[in-house]
């Protein structure tokens, strides 16, 4: 875990060399959980709305590529959160992602199951890391970025 902590510190230093990181850093949790919210909304609307609405949903989520944007926003938010003091929230985001993969729990194939299990495992490993003495966790949960 100490080696992982060192890797994260060096990764953060590398990220800080990019100006875009400074612009996006205050919004890392918004990117992370906002992306999950959009992905869940996509699954929920397709599950509850009738087939006649699917064209409208397709325009919102595919033509305006809201789903693809949310997919990349999740990964950007996840990497930025991983190297910051807010890393303690990332396991929960990974578990919520596993839930979103399985939702609405119909026609669950091996593909979805393996994906969800991977995210659950990664979330648990990260949860144990954040509870260790090596994690750079900000107890107050406030932003820790200093430039």
């Amino acid at each position: 875990m100490q080696q992982f902590s060192v890797v994260l510190q060096e990764t953060r230093k590398w990220f800080q060399s990019f100006r875009l990181y400074g612009v996006l850093a205050p919004f890392e949790l918004h990117l992370l959980f906002g992306a999950l919210g959009i992905q869940f909304l996509h699954e929920l609307l397709y599950a509850i709305l009738p087939y006649s609405s699917h064209h409208a949903l397709s325009v919102i989520f595919e033509t305006i590529p809201l789903l693809v944007i949310s997919h990349y926003a999740f990964w950007i938010g996840a990497w930025m959160t991983l190297v910051s003091g807010n890393v303690k929230y990332l396991p929960y985001a990974l578990w919520i992602n596993a839930f979103v993969i399985l939702f609405p729990f119909k026609n669950i194939g091996l593909n979805d199951l393996v994906g969800a299990l991977v995210y659950v495992g990664l979330g648990y490993a990260l949860f144990r890391y954040t509870a260790s003495a090596y994690a750079n966790v900000n107890p107050s949960g406030r932003e820790t970025h200093k430039f």
Partner: protein, 124 residues
């Protein structure tokens, strides 16, 4: 208060509760890891005592002292985490073991009165 104001305050309240839950879970996980380390140290001590008895000799306290010190240190850290959890969650523990809100003056389980030390104005 308008609907959006209520929504904003509700979201802020949910966010605060989520932060508290995340921090409490992290401290509980820390305690769980420390407890496992204590159990490993107990096993280690037990193995050393068994090996020494098998050789018909007694292991000296100096051999066991580092492990004992480590166990005591971990127990202190666990207690500190428990106090932190109670502070974050605005709770306190009664002598009977029941958890009550920090502002409570009596325990609803056993009736124990929490003595509050009131700060007088002008006290040094």
């Amino acid at each position: 208060m308008s609907f959006f104001d209520k929504l904003k305050s509700g979201v802020a309240e949910a966010g605060n509760k989520a932060k508290i839950a995340v921090e409490v879970n992290r401290l509980k996980m820390q305690n769980s890891s420390k407890q496992k380390e204590i159990d490993q140290e107990y096993q280690h001590i037990g193995k050393m005592v068994f090996d020494s008895l098998e050789r018909e000799s007694m292991c000296s306290p100096e051999q066991l002292q580092p492990m004992v010190d480590r166990i005591v240190q971990l127990q202190d850290e666990i207690q500190l985490n428990l106090h932190q959890i109670n502070a974050i969650a605005d709770e306190k523990k009664c002598t009977c073991g029941h958890t009550v809100p920090v502002a409570a003056r009596f325990c609803p389980e056993c009736g124990h009165q929490f003595i509050e030390i009131e700060k007088q104005e002008g006290d040094v």
